[in-house]
């Protein structure tokens, strides 16, 4: 099919600031509009759905705190993904690393809980969780650095193995993680010393502040430290890194391990906070995958992830409550998340390239000039 025009993509050397802000906003808007059309076509009311989601997610007293509470783990998985993505290391196994963080945190809580006081326990649980997350990414990190094996598939495969591990620890009779004497298999609660109390009567925990500070700290690390400098060099130009004597292998492993640790930390925050035990339902919640979407939307900027993380948490909180307040299935929320990302990706093209419609010359137009 020969059209009389074609699209020419010119790479922009710099993006005007207003475009950098407008495009993501417009993309989200476009996704919401498209979602509204879909809702209408499938027999649900867009207005009702969206207004419920907004109020349940943000504009109610429980809404905003629930959102902030959920954003704790989402910001964790978000910065985990972003930290690796910025160096073109596609760690999409954050989900599995989160599971391991939860397993590790639960173990630490159960094992040390009665022996150590509270103010030691909490950091221990968090650290053990982070360590387990890092452990779970260690193999993909090493084979990526040494052998060039694609981290995309390796981290993902480990997620499925991780999910099996969670199931094993819950469903096996007599498992350390399993609550004794219950009808249905469920996780064993960690001792009180390993748990934090929520803020007031909300579902928000102090870990929220920890995580936001961490995000800002990492933003600073990337911008201002030597480690961050190395990351920037390697991600833009591996040849320049080699030229300057920067070891891409070493930095690759370091960055991936930190990414895994951050997801593991996210899992551990669920132990000291919301769940307090290893819960098999975690494999259905997709917090790790959400982190990837959050990171992509924030374009791997650590500080922006705080914003996109809260936004997404609001979307999920509102979406989860839809089932209760209206008849709309919660899956709408998941679809909307995917749709927002798809539209944002489309919008990126306009941010990165200047698109021109080039009209093809026809013979008649030219002949006259003789």
């Amino acid at each position: 099919m020969n059209l009389p025009f074609r699209l020419a993509f010119e790479q922009r050397t710099e993006t005007p600031r207003r475009l950098a802000v407008m495009v993501p906003l417009l993309s989200v808007l476009a996704a919401i509009v498209a979602g509204g059309i879909f809702l209408f076509a499938t027999g649900y009311s867009p207005f009702e759905t969206y207004s419920n989601m907004l109020s349940d997610g943000f504009f109610s007293s429980t809404g905003i705190t629930d959102t902030l509470g959920l954003s704790t783990v989402l910001i964790c998985t978000g910065i985990a993904a972003a930290f690796a993505f910025q160096m073109n290391l596609y760690n999409i196994g954050g989900e599995g690393q989160l599971y391991l963080g939860m397993i590790g945190g639960a173990w630490a809580g159960l094992f040390f809980g009665d022996r150590l006081p509270g103010f030691v326990m909490i950091p221990v649980v968090l650290l053990v969780g982070a360590a387990c997350g890092a452990l779970w990414i260690a193999l993909p990190a090493f084979v990526r650095a040494r052998l060039g094996t694609s981290e995309i598939v390796t981290t993902l495969l480990l997620t499925y193995i991780g999910a099996s591990l969670v199931n094993h620890f819950i469903y096996r009779a007599g498992s350390y993680f399993r609550a004794p004497n219950t009808l249905f298999p469920q996780g064993r609660q960690v001792p009180d010393s390993a748990m934090l109390s929520p803020l007031g009567d909300t579902t928000m925990y102090p870990t929220f502040f920890l995580v936001t500070v961490l995000a800002v700290f990492l933003w600073w690390v990337v911008r201002r430290t030597e480690f961050g400098y190395r990351i920037q060099v390697i991600s833009d130009s591996p040849r320049a890194a080699r030229y300057a004597g920067i070891s891409a292998q070493r930095t690759t492993v370091q960055v991936m391990m930190i990414s895994g640790a951050l997801s593991g930390l996210g899992g551990a925050t669920l132990i000291v906070g919301t769940f307090g035990r290893l819960d098999p339902g975690i494999v259905l919640l997709g917090y790790g995958y959400a982190g990837i979407v959050i990171a992509a939307l924030a374009r791997n900027n650590m500080a922006a992830i705080i914003v996109s993380g809260i936004l997404f948490a609001g979307l999920r909180t509102g979406g989860d409550k839809l089932q209760i307040s209206t008849d709309t299935p919660i899956h709408i929320g998941v679809m909307l998340q995917g749709a927002i990302l798809l539209f944002a990706l489309g919008g990126e093209a306009f941010r990165r390239y200047r698109v021109k419609v080039v009209r093809m010359q026809t013979a008649t137009a030219q002949g006259a000039a003789q």
């Binding site: 040849r239 320049a240 010359q361």
Partner: protein
């Protein structure tokens, strides 16, 4: 005696009242963001003619050629084939009119065989590929023009000269009557250049037209029937070739003033030995990339390594800079061994390295000039950019770098300015003062103004006592700058001479691997 434009073609579409030109362009204008690449350019070529488009880098000749074959479309102006106006909306359209271009950077799929590359995209290819039949057809076309190729060879295994031949066979196979060759001699050794010219004669004898695009005065004049000179997007003159053209006149048309690229080698004392290479060898995947190389460089001396690209230059530079560990042999800088110790150790001993890959290797494209200055220096855990800023400003002034200050992004710099940033950084030293500067292809792709500046900077550095190792495929450059010349062929030093007594024929022959066969 030189011919001037008044004696040549009266109008682009019909030359001198005779048969119409095979291909002609009139009032061609083309704009890119920020630059007027072609400004009302006229050009034509007759059947059986060799016509050269001459101009320095950035003069607009490649752009014009791209429009002549259909890769780009002019903003205004007309193109005619055999007198009839045509619109070349794509390379395919160009090909349907019998026009094909052989690019400077070959468009060949390395993984495919020669035959597969030649037939890719050709219109009369059957649905099922019969390998043997295709090979035969390709071989037949190649034979006809004296371009021997092995149709079943994998392109990735071929040398640069062989690949160029494949590109030409491809154009001929697909029915080209007019061939545009973009900088064809840049990658060839003098002997291969002669072979190419033979092939060109064979093609023009059958009525094909050849358009050379080049910035090299010498060869161009020898082979061309006509020469059109471009400068800053405009035609500055038409000249007759075939040995009757005046090189100086052509140079003046190219640049607009009298230039003398030959640098006066001021006599100066050379000092201590700064670089010592002993029996350096490097074997990669079973191939001897470098073989037993030994030489020294002293303070205040510029040693030039001449050779056609692909004979080990890049590997030699990388090995000296510590990026690669040699299989055997040693490198010592300033009297201390640097072999196997990595690039940072080499720099601490006083090495500075300007690689040929400016914006991908020497500079980080997305970083500012300031951040790029830090690339080869010691950085604290918390990077202190503020303290480097004054130095950055000073260097920008000193080296006349056209940029909006130290925050200017590297990828927005022109080729010449990027090179200046690199030289500024490397000459000003990092962890320690620079004792030895290794520089590769410093003026490739630069316009004449930048070439002059860069050569002057290198010369000044040498006069100030710097030891310089210049690795370049530009033989003219080496012969005009270097105190001593070493020729690299297949990874070994095959010839050595001083700058003054170097003879082009001898050095050229050595570059082709023919040593000790040439008379004095």
């Amino acid at each position: 005696m030189s011919n001037t434009s008044s004696e040549v073609a009266k109008g682009p579409h019909h030359s001198g009242g005779a048969a119409p030109s095979a291909l002609s362009a009139r009032n061609i204008t083309k704009r890119f963001p920020g630059v007027l690449a072609n400004d009302n350019v006229d050009f034509d070529v007759r059947p059986g003619e060799v016509h050269t488009l001459l101009g320095e880098n950035g003069a607009g000749k490649s752009t014009l050629a791209a429009m002549l074959c259909g890769l780009y479309q002019p903003d205004s102006g007309t193109i005619a084939r055999n007198g009839a106006p045509v619109v070349l909306s794509s390379p395919r359209a160009g090909l349907s009119h019998g026009i094909a271009m052989v690019h400077q950077h070959f468009r060949l799929v390395e993984r495919f065989t020669v035959a597969e590359n030649v037939v890719l995209g050709s219109r009369d290819l059957s649905y099922t590929l019969k390998r043997a039949e295709l090979n035969d057809r390709v071989a037949e076309v190649a034979e006809r023009y004296g371009l021997p190729v092995d149709p079943s060879a994998t392109v990735g295994d071929l040398s640069v000269g062989q690949r160029q031949r494949v590109e030409i066979v491809k154009a001929l196979y697909q029915g080209a009557e007019i061939l545009l060759l973009d900088e064809p001699t840049a990658v060839l050794v003098p002997a291969e250049v002669e072979k190419l010219f033979e092939n060109v004669h064979a093609m023009t004898a059958t009525g094909k037209s050849i358009v050379f695009i080049s910035h090299k005065l010498g060869e161009v004049v020898e082979i061309s029937d006509r020469v059109t000179v471009l400068r800053n997007g405009r035609v500055t003159g038409h000249v007759s070739g075939r040995g009757s053209a005046d090189t100086r006149e052509l140079a003046r048309l190219m640049v607009g003033r009298d230039i003398d690229l030959a640098v006066q080698r001021a006599s100066h004392a050379t000092g201590h030995e700064v670089l010592q290479i002993r029996d350096l060898s490097l074997t990669v995947n079973g191939i001897d990339v470098l073989s037993n190389i030994s030489f020294n460089v002293h303070e205040g001396e510029m040693v030039g390594i001449a050779g056609v690209a692909g004979n080990g230059q890049k590997e030699l530079a990388d090995t000296i800079a510590g990026l690669v560990s040699p299989t055997s042999g040693s490198v010592s800088i300033g009297g201390s061994m640097s072999t196997d110790r990595g690039p940072i150790a080499a720099r601490e001993l006083g090495l500075a390295y300007v690689p040929e890959d400016r914006l991908g290797m020497g500079l980080v494209p997305s970083m500012s000039i300031l951040d790029n200055l830090l690339l080869t220096r010691d950085r604290d855990t918390v990077v202190d950019r503020a303290s480097v800023k004054p130095e950055a400003n000073r260097l920008i002034d000193q080296f006349e770098i056209k940029a909006n200050g130290p925050e200017h992004l590297a990828r927005k710099l022109s080729g010449g300015n990027a090179q200046k940033v690199l030289l500024a950084r490397e000459l000003s030293g990092g962890r320690t003062a620079t004792k030895l500067l290794v520089v590769c292809s410093p003026t490739r792709g630069l316009d004449v103004g930048a070439i002059e500046t860069v050569r002057r900077l290198l010369d000044d550095a040498r006069s100030a006592g710097q030891a310089i190792l210049l690795i370049s495929e530009d033989l003219d450059e080496i012969m005009s700058l270097a105190d001593r010349i070493l020729v690299l062929y297949r990874g070994a030093i095959v010839h050595e001479t001083t700058g003054e007594s170097a003879q082009l024929t001898t050095v050229g022959a050595a570059m082709a691997g023919l040593t000790q066969e040439v008379q004095q």
